[in-house]
């Protein structure tokens, strides 16, 4: 591979799938349109041509059925990657994800493992309206037995997908459709076939001293933009990319809050019982609470089903200006 390159999230995911399909013959991909259509969002482009019908399987529109089939295959030590065209459709199959996949290792006292990855786009897109815009981070993050990851950059996407496929546990990988076409720098190391990011570790994307911004997925980018805006006013933000929703790396957040004394959480999902709510609760329970100089502030999606009209939709997702405003509220400036 060349030295540092610009690679889109889509290509990074494609690379990860290609490499893992090649590395382990037990890995296979199934879902709607993943094979001959090259993937609804072209994530699996070229893979069916390369690996054939056995390894890349087009399914009928039967989420509950094919998710169950994927889990059953995983119980016999195949390593399926089950794609939901969007996670909104995973609701039809959620019983298989939770009751058949997540809980089985525990119920069987460790005798049955379920090494499966459920992946697909999660959360808001652009103009797809209420039934196609829900964020499932809080729903899946709630359940013991699952691992839940939420990549932002191309490095995240590739490293986390490879780690998820190699993990012997059920992993839900929440991608983002609007990020698929976005190019990110990828180091030479990140482009290698053995590049894996540990699940359960957050990354500090930007060092700062005045406030901690914690986020996951696309809003991480907005946080970095907000940090640039705020830097001009002398406020230095530390931006943390959670990368994993479950297990969540609260220690990295705590260490940052101890340093900055201020916390703002940013997510695309709804506020009630969300990722930010969990972060705030855990910060209260831990050593970082005593270092907070102000209550933590949450920036979230608006508490409504997603509307269609652009002006309404734009005001339902956290924008850079909302993050900047929240930081100033936290810092009382």
């Amino acid at each position: 591979a060349a030295a540092v390159s610009q690679v889109t999230v889509r290509d990074a995911l494609n690379q990860a799938l290609d490499e893992e399909l090649e590395r382990d013959e037990r890995v296979f991909l199934l879902g709607e349109e993943v094979a001959q259509y090259d993937g609804a969002y072209k994530i699996s482009r070229g893979l069916w041509k390369k690996y054939g019908d056995k390894r890349v399987i087009d399914t009928p529109i039967s989420e509950m059925g094919f998710a169950g089939i994927a889990v059953g295959a995983a119980m016999v030590w195949l390593r399926p990657v089950c794609e939901f065209m969007t996670f909104n459709f995973s609701m039809q199959a959620i019983d298989q994800v939770i009751n058949s996949a997540a809980k089985t290792c525990y119920m069987s006292a460790g005798s049955i493992a379920v090494p499966i990855v459920f992946r697909g786009p999660n959360g808001a897109s652009a103009g797809v309206a209420a039934q196609h815009s829900q964020c499932f981070a809080a729903w899946y993050g709630h359940c013991p037995g699952l691992k839940v990851v939420s990549p932002w950059s191309s490095e995240d996407a590739k490293g986390l997908l490879k780690a998820s496929i190699r993990d012997d546990n059920p992993v839900v990988m929440l991608e983002n459709e609007l990020l698929y076409g976005v190019p990110f720098e990828m180091s030479e190391q990140a482009q290698s076939k053995e590049f894996v990011i540990p699940i359960g570790k957050a990354k500090v994307e930007r060092q700062g001293t005045h406030v901690t911004l914690v986020s996951h997925s696309r809003p991480v980018g907005h946080c970095l933009e907000a940090a640039t805006v705020l830097a001009k006013e002398g406020v230095e933000c530390e931006v943390i990319n959670l990368r994993s929703i479950r297990p969540m790396d609260i220690e990295t957040v705590e260490a940052s809050v101890v340093k900055t004394n201020h916390l703002v959480t940013v997510e695309g999902g709804w506020p009630q019982f969300g990722v930010g709510a969990e972060i705030c609760a855990r910060i209260m329970e831990g050593p970082a609470f005593n270092y907070l100089d102000a209550p933590a502030v949450r920036v979230t999606g608006a508490d409504v089903p997603m509307p269609y009209a652009k002006i309404l939709e734009d005001n339902c997702i956290p924008q850079v200006k909302d993050i900047v405003f929240a930081v100033k509220k936290a810092l009382n400036i």
């Binding site: 056995k54 119980m75 030590w77 195949l78 005798s111 090494p115 691992k147 297990p247």
Partner: protein, 373 residues
């Protein structure tokens, strides 16, 4: 077969095998069905008898333990249906795969888990086959995937196991069982479609015991021909009270699937003596007369016993001795299940993940933590 001491007959006095005419199966999209003649050796007969009797007595013991409140929660008993699981096991290989729903104790036994581990799992002790963490509906062993609590969910899982069999090119099949109630679940039809499309080596088996909880089949299904519900998938309807019918039908189905012809649907017509679960007396939606009639005319164990005695495969005394031995075994297993300690509290946090470095799990508050390995 173990040597059985018989009071008045010598081992050499019995026939080594006998041939039986069995009921013809109803066929759907099949030109030919299973054989209507079944040969059973004395050895096989004694084994089937002992196995069915063990399951019968194990289930009755579970009933007793439940009423003593030593077993808690859900307990769905299988007595009456013994010919199904024993007939199935007689027709398949240990390397084949089985998955069923929550009325699973019989299959757990036929797939190889000892009675004491089943009972200890029901009583929630550390010697249970899932260390006490699963309970009645979540028992597993090699090539047996439970024990599943969500009605119908096990059927796609079974097709997935069949997909894995085909993927690895093994000559193995998966039997995915469900009840007459579950037969109306949408995900089963999704599974039929994919199994047929991809020619998965999956045998779908509906154990039709006439009632889904308190709802009779007539009140639940627009078509009660469960063996036809796979529509484009060929099907068989089988007398599930006759172990030889079950065995021959499953042999036929396994051969069909192993030949790569795709899935089959099988309906076993059977009956449960108990209610749906221990909290259901089972007489509000059916009559005592009906239950009695099945017991007197179609009991699977009695059917087998009569066949063996009438065809000189065993003596009444010999079978009685097996009964005594079985009762003793069940008593000992129950003794274990009631005296074995509960799992240690440390077990609470274990087995969240598989093959994972140890980590901490939160208890009811932030200061209570359990280690998870």
């Amino acid at each position: 077969a173990s040597r059985v001491m018989v009071a008045s007959r010598n081992y050499g006095d019995f026939a080594s095998e006998a041939s039986f005419e069995i009921k013809k199966c109803d066929l759907h999209r099949l030109e030919e069905g299973p054989s209507t003649t079944a040969v059973m050796t004395r050895e096989e007969g004694l084994h089937y008898y002992k196995t069915m009797q063990t399951i019968r007595r194990m289930e009755l013991k579970s009933d007793q333990l439940y009423k003593q409140k030593i077993i808690r929660g859900f307990c769905h008993l299988y007595d009456g249906q013994e010919a199904c699981c024993v007939g199935i096991e007689a027709a398949i290989k240990p390397t084949d795969h089985v998955i069923t729903a929550y009325r699973a104790h019989g299959f757990t036994f036929t797939r190889g888990v000892p009675v004491r581990e089943i009972l200890a799992e029901l009583t929630g002790r550390k010697g249970g086959c899932a260390k006490g963490k699963g309970g009645s509906m979540h028992m597993y062993t090699k090539n047996f995937y439970g024990g599943n609590g969500i009605v119908g969910a096990q059927v796609p899982l079974g097709a997935g196991i069949a997909l894995a069999c085909k993927y690895f090119g093994k000559n193995e099949v998966c039997l995915a069982l469900y009840g007459d109630g579950a037969a109306n679940q949408g995900q089963i039809f999704e599974t039929y479609n994919m199994a047929a499309l991809w020619k998965l080596p999956c045998i779908f088996i509906c154990e039709n015991n006439r009632y889904g909880m308190g709802t009779s089949v007539e009140r639940a299904a627009a078509s009660t021909d469960y063996y036809k519900r796979g529509y484009f998938i060929p099907g068989l309807r089988v007398d599930g009270m006759d172990i030889l019918c079950v065995r021959e039908a499953v042999k036929f189905a396994a051969d069909y699937c192993r030949a790569g012809k795709g899935p089959l649907v099988m309906e076993l017509q059977t009956y449960r003596y108990h209610g749906h679960s221990m909290s259901d007396p089972g007489i509000s939606y059916r009559t005592r007369e009906e239950i009695q009639e099945v017991r007197s005319k179609s009991d699977p164990i009695t059917l087998l016993k009569d066949r063996m005695v009438n065809n000189n495969l065993a003596s009444v005394e010999e079978l009685k001795e097996i009964d005594v031995a079985v009762r003793k075994e069940i008593e000992e297993a129950a003794q274990f299940a009631t005296t074995d300690p509960e799992p240690p509290l440390e077990e609470l946090g274990n087995h969240i993940y598989f093959n994972e470095p140890p980590f901490e799990v939160r208890g009811p508050n932030q200061w209570i933590k359990y280690k998870s390995v």
